[in-house]
């Protein structure tokens, strides 16, 4: 059955992007390599999805160095958290609709 997608966030259409957002909402922050390992995606794939989320201003980035190694940490912005919540709400509404 096809369901209508009101309130559905285009930025979260992709599974990886939604997963990235889930991780950042559940944690204070997460670094690139841990994200890559957790989601089992390639560098390039992850980077492009992070870029997309950054463009939406859903995440903020903090670049620093651990010794000589670059360490990039990602945080969910307030805007991103709100969007994620709304997206979950719309998923929930869809399920409720189907049960009726």
């Amino acid at each position: 059955m096809k369901v209508t997608l009101t309130d559905f966030d285009k930025a979260f259409e992709n599974r990886v992007r939604l997963q990235i957002m889930s991780v950042l909402v559940a944690n204070e922050s997460y670094d690139f390599n841990s994200l890559k390992e957790l989601l089992a995606v390639t560098d390039g794939n992850l980077a492009s999805h992070l870029k997309a989320l950054e463009k939406e201003q859903y995440i903020t980035i903090n670049k620093s160095f651990l010794g000589r190694k670059p360490n990039t940490r990602y945080f969910a912005s307030d805007l991103g958290k709100a969007a994620f919540k709304k997206h979950l709400q719309s998923l929930e509404n869809l399920i409720k609709q189907q049960k009726l």
Partner: protein, 203 residues
């Protein structure tokens, strides 16, 4: 979007949130082993204290008995941590997860503060001859460490921690039964907890 996808989507969000915040490769068996080591240690300590020479009233920190007890405690600690790390690494490898990730680091960081504080506190009092503080002190601070760390692993760890704190307070109330409470808290509770965890998550 198909409704099957919808459930898959939500399930994936849930699983990723859980995996990103919690370190779930802790092995239940390592709890059982730690409990067994603790019981063996307590048994040895009991033999040393209550058999052999007549009751020593004033013990000094350089007394051979104290040194022997200290060595037993260290052996129990090293064996427990060693087995725990080994079994946890094995379990993580089996599940294809890394052991040293953000959640395991958070787990250690949060557990380390109460644990190290407690360790120093007990050792300092020990040097001044307050032997009665060993058992309740270890139990209470270990319990606090578990509760603090439990946010980053299975929630059940919190209950183990709360039970240890309770036992520690009881041990404070009933001086003279320190060894018994220590054996209960570190031995029996660990075995019980490890068994529950093993059957709940490891199979």
């Amino acid at each position: 979007m198909e409704d099957k996808d919808l459930y898959a989507e939500i399930a994936s969000i849930r699983s990723i949130m859980e995996r990103s915040t919690k370190f779930i490769s802790l092995s239940g068996l390592s709890g059982v082993m730690a409990g067994i080591y603790a019981l063996i240690g307590a048994g040895l300590a009991y033999k040393l204290i209550y058999t052999g020479e007549p009751q020593v009233v004033y013990v000094r920190y350089n007394d051979p008995l104290v040194v022997q007890l200290f060595l037993i405690a260290c052996a129990v600690l090293v064996c427990s941590i060693g087995t725990g790390v080994w079994l946890t690494v094995r379990k993580a490898a089996k599940k294809g997860e890394s052991v040293w990730n953000q959640s395991s680091q958070m787990l250690l960081k949060n557990g380390a503060l109460p644990l190290l504080t407690g360790g120093c506190f007990v050792l300092l009092l020990l040097c001044r001859g307050y032997y009665g503080v060993i058992s309740p002190g270890c139990l209470i601070f270990y319990g606090l460490a578990l509760v603090a760390a439990s946010r980053y692993t299975y929630g059940d760890v919190k209950w183990l921690g709360l039970c240890d704190i309770g036992l520690g307070l009881l041990a404070t109330l009933l001086p003279g039964y320190g060894l018994l409470f220590w054996a209960l808290g570190f031995g029996v509770l660990h075995i019980l907890y490890g068994t529950i965890m093993h059957f709940k998550y490891d199979r």
